[in-house]
């Protein structure tokens, strides 16, 4: 990445909060499977991946809070913002749907994050580089795990294939948003802090492509793309998710255990 050009504090906080929100929200979605997974191994696997994601989110929130310097904590970021203040992409907030849809979404996000973390591991920002060096190994497991399920279901029974194809169609409108550049990502790339999202698309295709090929699945081009998450504009599902996520802190402010 390029030479060290300064980035202003607010922009860096926005970048970190977007990343953290992606991980918190997807981690929360995965945790919803706990106790409901189709088999015991998956009941362990999904909370395990959720733990990775929420751990990554915590590190990112804590760092954002430190840079922001307004005395907010990681919990304040996670629990005490309003819906419009969450900057996650829309893909991660999509309801779990069935197991096929959850695994496909997991593959998409992991295949997006793997090249991101790889690039961020040599970030000019030492803290982000440290978080990335750890996360890049964790996300490799997520790709393997989700990828195996996409192959197994896509190339499985008539029923499993039907479900995987439905998932591809359902999630297709939410992929392009991942790769959108804007002023925040441009400033971060300029400063050598994080790669431009658009630069990650070839790597994403290189990961997902062979998995789809092995599963005998094909991408569908969506009739439209949904956007807005990075600006805090979310779908209906997000409010319900936050109600679940925040209700303890909203009901008993400052609760700890």
């Amino acid at each position: 990445m390029g030479a060290a050009v300064a980035i202003d504090r607010e922009t860096l906080v926005t970048l970190l909060v977007r990343l953290a929100d992606d991980h918190l929200v997807l981690g929360h979605r995965l945790s919803e499977w706990c106790g409901h997974a189709p088999m015991l191994e998956e009941d362990l696997a999904m909370p395990n991946m959720a733990l990775d994601l929420i751990g990554q989110a915590r590190a990112l929130y804590a760092y954002a809070a430190e840079i922001e310097g307004r005395g907010r904590s990681e919990d304040d970021f996670a629990y005490l913002r309003r819906e419009r203040e969450y900057l996650n992409c829309l893909l991660v907030e999509r309801p779990n749907g069935d197991f096929a849809q959850t695994m496909l979404r997991q593959l998409y996000v992991a295949a997006y994050m793997e090249p991101f973390w790889k690039a961020a591991a040599s970030s000019s920002d030492a803290t982000l580089a440290g978080i990335a060096a750890k996360a890049v190994k964790e996300v490799a497991y997520h790709i393997r795990h989700a990828g195996e399920w996409v192959v197994r279901l896509g190339d499985g029974t008539e029923e499993s294939r039907r479900r995987m194809e439905a998932a591809i169609e359902e999630l297709a409108p939410y992929i392009d948003e991942l790769f959108e550049d804007d002023a925040v990502t441009a400033a971060a790339a300029e400063a050598g802090i994080a790669p431009q999202p658009s630069s990650l698309r070839p790597a994403f295709d290189r990961i997902v492509g062979p998995i789809f090929a092995e599963a005998g699945l094909t991408f569908v081009t969506p009739p439209y793309s949904q956007r807005g998450g990075r600006k805090g504009m979310h779908g209906e599902a997000m409010g319900f998710l936050l109600a679940d996520l925040q209700h303890i802190q909203r009901t008993y402010p400052g609760a700890t255990w």
């Binding site: 191994e41 998956e42 362990l44 696997a45 395990n48 991946m49 959720a50 733990l51 990775d52 994601l53 929420i54 751990g55 990554q56 915590r58 590190a59 793997e114 030492a126 803290t127 580089a129 440290g130 978080i131 060096a133 750890k134 996360a135 190994k137 964790e138 490799a140 497991y141 790709i143 393997r144 795990h145 990828g147 195996e148 192959v151 990961i207 062979p210 998995i211 092995e214």
Partner: protein, 209 residues
């Protein structure tokens, strides 16, 4: 600023010291000590006493068992990076295994308590860079894991390309390599669930990251 200057740090394995990362192949167990740079040497107590204190602080922190895998200590796992005496305070540097490892806080508290019990004023710092890798598990740690029934990490895995990628993991009970993976994710974040087809026993595999 003189008071900010750190005193020599101590770490039990030469070449395993943060931030150099892993030292594959280096197996020598040498007790080593950074020599302070000359301007700060005058500020130190007599070197024999100093060394003795460093050794004691390290030994106290290093003996803390991992809360989730109590057969190994934090030093065996390589998550205790260093213990330094800074202005009379024992400062332990600890690195998490996984981003979301729920044991991190318990480990930090236990290390701090162990240092206090040994008579030190103590502080624990979390370092995340460079990231912990299973390569930092000591040879003794690997032996202890195997004795405990957990297959230690194999070097070659964690490639995302190896979809359904098979690695050979020897059964920690009978040694057979006729084993299969049951689940990538096991009882804790750091372990996968395997079973042995020879002796039919299920076992944990400490994942390579």
């Amino acid at each position: 600023m003189v008071s900010e200057r750190t005193l020599p740090s101590f770490s039990p394995l030469a070449g395993r010291r943060w931030p150099e990362g892993s030292d594959e192949g280096q197996r020598e167990r040498v007790r080593s000590l950074h020599r302070p740079s000359s301007p700060c040497r005058d500020l130190l107590p007599a070197s024999g006493e100093k060394e003795e204190l460093q050794h004691r602080a390290w030994a106290a922190a290093a003996a803390v068992p991992d809360p989730e895998v109590p057969c190994v200590t934090v030093a065996d796992l390589g998550i205790l990076r260093s213990v330094e005496l800074v202005d009379g305070v024992a400062v332990a540097k600890v690195t998490p295994t996984y981003s979301g490892c729920p044991a991190v806080l318990a480990i930090e508290l236990a290390v701090e308590a162990a240092l206090r019990d040994a008579g030190f004023e103590a502080r624990v710092e979390r370092v995340i860079s460079p990231a912990w890798t299973t390569d930092w598990i000591t040879p003794e740690g690997r032996d202890k894991l195997r004795d405990y029934g957990i297959a230690p990490p194999e070097k070659t895995s964690s490639s995302i390309r190896s979809l359904f990628g098979e690695i050979e993991v020897a059964c920690p009970r009978c040694g057979s390599s006729d084993t299969e993976r049951v689940s990538e994710f096991g009882s804790t974040a750091c372990k996968a669930h395997w079973r042995c087809l020879a002796c039919r026993e299920p076992f944990d595999y400490f994942k390579c990251i």
